[in-house]
Symmetry: C2
DNA sequence: CGAAATATTGATCCAAATCAACGGCTGTGG
DNA sequence: CCACAGCCGTTGATTTGGATCAATATTTCG
C-alpha cells in the first residue's frame, strides 16, 4: 500500500510503518471536489490513478489553475504553513487516492530520518518545479510554453512508468490555457500547428508525440 | 544569534541549541556571488541585512530571475531535492549573512520537533508564494504585476519590522522586468505613470507609497 | 572627471487577446 | 437507444498591450 501511494525509496521497515497509517480514500468522480479553500489540513493525499487540478479564486471569483496532479503526486503541501489548505482541488476524471493523516505522518517522521528527508525532498522538488515554471512562463512564447507543458507531462508520465509517447489530456483546453496564461483559442491554434508540422498527432484529448526531438527543441 | 538569523518562534532551549551551529558569514559586496549553480548544498543562508537575487541561466545563457531575498529570508531550499543548488545567488548590495551547516541542521531537526515544523512551514510558505506569483503573472496586466510586486515588497519589509511605506529598490529596473516578465521600458513607464497618478513617489531607487489603498486596488 | 551602466521617453511593430461564428462531442432524459 | 442541449473545440477577422527599436538623459563608480 505504501509503495503504491508513496512510490519512493524507503526501506522495507519504513514502508511497513507507513502502511499502518495510510488509508484508501473513496474514489472521486469527474468534477468531485476533494479539497476546499480554507479547510483544515488533516490529510495529505497521494494520487493512485486519474488526475486532478488545484486552483484558487482571484478577487473577481475567477479560477486560477495552480497545478495538475497525476498518479504518484502528493497533494496538500501548500497548507503546511498554517494548517489550512490554500486552494481548491477537483477531480478531472475518475480518480483513486490514498489519504495520509498529518498527525501520524508528523509522529512517524520523528522516528524515521529517511521519511523526513523524503518529505523535504518532495517539497523541495515542487518548489524547484514551480520556480522553473515561473521562468518558463515569463520568458517564452505561446508555442514554447505549450511545447514545454506537453514535455513536462510526458516526463512525469515516464517517471511513473506510464507511456511518455502518447497520453490523454484529462484537462480541457481552457484549463491548459488558464494554467499557461494563454487563451483557449491560442492553445487550439498551436496544437493544430504542431500537428501540421508533424510534431504531435492530436485527436481530441489524445496526444501522441511523433517527433520528441523537435518537441524538446521547441520547448526551450 | 539564532534570533537574528532565524527570527521565528522557537523556545529559549531551541534557540540556544541553534546558536551552537549558526556561523556568521563574511559580508558580501555588491555583485559578489554567494552560490553557483550545481554547487553542493553545504549550508543554508539567512539574510541579516542587504539583499540578493537568485537566477538560473536558460539554454541561451540569459538570466532568469527567480527570487529576491530580503533580510529575514532563508536561502537554499531549492537544493534539498538532490543536495545541489539549482541556481545562482548574487548580492545586490552590501549584505550580511549567517550560514547554517546542513548536516548539523539535519541532526538538530531530529531532536527538535519545533524546528522541524518550522522548516516545513518556511518551505510551505515559499511554495505558496511561488504558486500565488504564478497566478499573478499569468492573469494580470503589466500595471497589476508591478503594483503587486511593490505591495509584496512592502509587506515583506513590514513583517521584518522595517518601513512598509518607503524603501529602496536594491535591484535594477531590468531585474524587476526580468522577474515580472516585462521589459525595462515598461517598468519605467509604469513607475512614471503611478507617480503621476499620485500612488507612488519615486526617486531613483527610492520608493514611497503615497496611496497604499489605491496601490492595493491596482494590484488585483 | 569620464566611461559605462542604468533609466527615461517616443515611435513602431507584432504576438496573442478578443470578438465572432460554427462544428463536434458528450452526457442526460425520455 | 436516440435526440437534443450545452459545453468544448476549432477557425477566421480584428484589436491591443506590451515588446522592440531608437535616441537621449541620468546615475554610478573607477
Amino acid at each position: 500500500m505504501a509503495t503504491l501511494c508513496l512510490p519512493y525509496q524507503l526501506s522495507p521497515e519504513q514502508t511497513e510503518k507507513l502502511d499502518t497509517i495510510i488509508q484508501r480514500h473513496r474514489p472521486l468522480q469527474k468534477r468531485d471536489v476533494l479539497i476546499e479553500n480554507g479547510e483544515p489540513l488533516k490529510f495529505l493525499y497521494a494520487v493512485r490513478s486519474g488526475s486532478l487540478k488545484s486552483y484558487s479564486l482571484d478577487s473577481h471569483g475567477s479560477e486560477q489553475i495552480i497545478d495538475f496532479h497525476l498518479p504518484g503526486d502528493l497533494i496538500g503541501f501548500d497548507g503546511l504553513i498554517d494548517g489550512q489548505h490554500r486552494s481548491f482541488t477537483q477531480a478531472l476524471e475518475t480518480t483513486m487516492l490514498c489519504e495520509i493523516p498529518m498527525q501520524s505522518l508528523d509522529q512517524l517522521s520523528a522516528e524515521l530520518p529517511g521519511l523526513r528527508k523524503q518529505l523535504l525532498r518532495v517539497m523541495s522538488g515542487e518548489l524547484h518545479a514551480s520556480k522553473t515554471l515561473l521562468g518558463t512562463l515569463n520568458h517564452h512564447t505561446a508555442q514554447q510554453r505549450l511545447a514545454n507543458f506537453i514535455m513536462t507531462l510526458s516526463n512525469r508520465f515516464q517517471q511513473r512508468g506510464l507511456s511518455s509517447r502518447s497520453f490523454r489530456l484529462s484537462m480541457t483546453r481552457a484549463d491548459i490555457g488558464n494554467y499557461l496564461g494563454l487563451s483557449v483559442e491560442t492553445i487550439s491554434r498551436i496544437l493544430t500547428q504542431l500537428q501540421q508540422e508533424g510534431v504531435l498527432a492530436v485527436q481530441n484529448k489524445l496526444v501522441e508525440i511523433t517527433d520528441p526531438e523537435r518537441l524538446r527543441a521547441l520547448a526551450s
